[in-house]
Amino acid sequence: MIVNILLIIDFLMLAVVVSAYIYASLRERKYLRQEAGQSLELQQKVYQAEVLKEIGERIGYSLDTNKIVDIITSSLGNLLEYDTVSYMVLVDGGKAVFKCHVEKTVNHQFIEEVKHKMRMSYEAILDSKIPSQSMDESITGNILDDSLKVKVESFFNLPVVISQKLVGLINVASKERGRYGEEQASILYTITNQAATAVSKLQAVLQSEKGKLEAVIYSLADGVITVDLNNQLVVYNPVIRDMLGIAQDKAITMYDIVDGLAGKVDLRTKIEQAVAEDKAITLPEVYLKDKALELTIAPVKDNQGVIIAASAVFHDITTEKTLEKTRQEFTAMMVHELRAPLTAVRWSSESMIKNLSLASGVDQSKVKDTMLTIETASGNMLELVNDLLDVAKIESGKFELNLQQYDIVEVINDQAKVFRPQAEIKHLTINVIAPPKYMLKFDRVRVGQVLGNLISNAIKYSDSGQIDINLGVNAEEKIATVSVKDTGIGVSREDLADLFSKFKQLKSGDRSRKGTGLGLVVSKGIVEAHGGKIWAESPGENLGSTFAFSLPLEK
C-alpha cells in the first residue's frame, strides 16, 4: 500500500513539473505569435516553439529514451526538408536500435548509407564498436524503390544528450547536394537541445522521487517485492533475503523467491489471481522452516488505473506466533498445576464424608490424615495463586516494596533455620558463610521470599551434599551479593537462559521435582525492583548450581 501511495505522490509531483513546463512554452508561443510575420527568423522560432510543445506533450512522463528520441525525430517534419529522418539509440545490453522514416522515396542503398554514417559517428563518440548483428532495425514511411539511382548527397548527425548522457543520434539525410547548412543544423540542434533539457529535468525529478521511494522500501521492516506482468522481479528490498533465506551475494530473481517459499505458497497463481480479480489477497499464516509470515499480494496500477505489476508484502509474525504458543503452553501448565491440588482436596473430602458416615464409627486417625492432605494441597494451591498474583503485579509495574534498614545476615539465618528440617530429611546440610551482621536497605519480607525460594529449590534439586549460603560485599561496585550454592542436579547450558522467564518450563530435567518455575520469575521481579540482579551458574548437569542475587548498597 505504501508503495502505491508513494507512486501516486510521485506522479502528482511530475504533473506539476510538466504543467509548469507546458505553461512556460504556451506563454512563449503567445508572445512569439504576436511578433510573428515580422521576420522570417521569428516565424522559424514559432515553429520551433510549436514543435517543442508537441514534443513536450507527447513525451509526457516517459523516461524511455527510445521513445523520446522517436518523438523528437517524428516532430521535425515542420522545420526541415529531408528524404529520410532516422535515429539510432543504444538500449540495455549493448543492443542498438535503428529506426528510419522515409519521407520521400529512396532506395535500400540510401538507407544502408545513412545507417553506416550514423554508426561510424556513434562509434566515434562512444569509442567502441556496435556489432551489426545486434542492430534492431525498422523502416517506416514511403516505399523503397531500388530502380532509383539516388545516394546520400547531404546529411547531418545530431547527438541527443539527456542528463549528461548520450542516449542517441538523430540523422536527417537528403539526395540533394548542399541541402543542409549551418542554419538547419542550428534549428535541429535547438530543438533537440531544448527537448533534451526538459527531459533531463524531468528525469532528475523522477530519479530523486524514485530514490526517496527506494529508500523507503529499503528501510521497511517488511519484505517487499514487485513483479511485473511477465513474472519478472522488478523491485525487492534487502529484508526479503533474511526472510526467505536467500544468499547475500547475488541479485534476486523470481526463482529465488519461489524457492524461498519452499512450495508453501503458490505465489505465481496468487499474483495472477490478485491481478485478475483486481484486489489484494492476504495469506494470514505461511509457515516456513523457522518463520511464520503474513503475505499480502496486491495489484500495482499506473496513474491511468491500469494494472502494471503486482506487489507482495512479507510481514514476519514469528514472534507473535511463538509468543502465542508459549502462552498457550503456560496456560495449559497452570491449569494442570492448579487442578492437581484441587483434585486432592476434592477426593480427600469425599473420602472423609464417607468416613464420617460410616456405621462402624469415625476413624479419628484417618480423618486426621485426610485433613493433613487437604491442608497440604490447599497450601500448595495458595502458594501457586500467590506466585501468579505476584507475577501479575510485577508485570503491571504495581509491585511495591517496603524498604527499611535491616540486617541481611539475620534474614539469611532465619531462612536457613526455616529450611533446615526439610533439608535434613534429604540428609543435606545448610551452611551460612557471612559476617555476623550487615545492614542494608531492602524489603525484609520480599528478600526473605527470594532466599526461601532459592533454598527450597536447592533442596528440591539435590539428593546429597550441602547447601552453602554466602554473603559477599563489593564496596567498589557498591553491591552485596547473596549466593546459594548446591551440589544437586545442576542446570544445562540451554536451560540457564530460560530459568527466569515466565513462559519457559525447562525442556530437559526431572519432572518428579515439580514446580511451575514461577518462583524464580517472582524472585527476579523482587530483586529487580530493588535495583539488583539475579542469575544462575552451573558447570553442567549433575554438577550442582549456584543461584545468586545482588542488592545495591545505597538506595
Binding site: V335, A340, P341, A344, T370, T376, R511, S512, K514
Partner: protein, 127 residues
C-alpha cells in the same frame, strides 16, 4: 482380591485415590513414576491400571505403549486418569490403546470407582 495399579506422581492425589480404592474393596498398589509403573505392572500383573500422563522418568503415553507391546501386560485394561484435556493428548491416549480416559478434576472418587468396576466387568465378559 482385585489388584489395581495406581500410577500417580502426586503423592496427595495418590494417597486419596488409593484410600478410596481400598474403601471400595480393591487392592491398590501405588506407583509414583513411569518406570516404577512398568516394573510393578510386570511384577504384580494387576487386573487394571489407572494411569497418569504427566509423570517423571517416563510419561504415561510411553508407559501405555510399553504395556501394550509386552505380551505379558498387553491384555491388562488401562484407564487413563489425567488433568491434561487437550485433543492432541486424548487422541494419543486412544491411539496407544487405553480403554478409557477420565479428567481427574471432573470426576468424583465414586465416578472413578464406578468406571473401574465397569471396565473390569467388560473385560471379564470378553474373557
Amino acid at each position: 482380591m482385585t489388584k489395581i495399579l495406581a500410577a500417580e506422581d502426586d503423592k496427595l492425589i495418590s494417597s486419596s485415590l488409593c484410600e478410596a480404592l481400598k474403601v471400595a474393596g480393591f487392592e491398590p498398589t501405588p506407583a509414583y513414576d513411569g518406570e516404577e509403573t512398568l516394573a510393578k505392572a510386570k511384577e504384580i500383573l494387576p487386573d487394571l491400571v489407572l494411569l497418569d500422563i504427566m509423570m517423571p522418568k517416563l510419561d504415561g503415553i510411553s508407559v501405555l505403549w510399553e504395556l501394550k507391546s509386552n505380551p505379558a501386560t498387553a491384555k491388562i485394561p488401562v484407564v487413563v486418569l489425567t488433568n491434561i484435556g487437550d485433543v492432541e493428548t486424548i487422541s494419543k491416549i486412544v491411539e496407544a490403546g487405553a480403554v478409557d480416559y477420565l479428567l481427574k478434576s471432573d470426576q468424583s472418587v465414586d465416578d472413578i470407582i464406578q468406571k473401574v468396576k465397569d471396565v473390569l466387568a467388560r473385560s471379564v465378559n470378553l474373557a
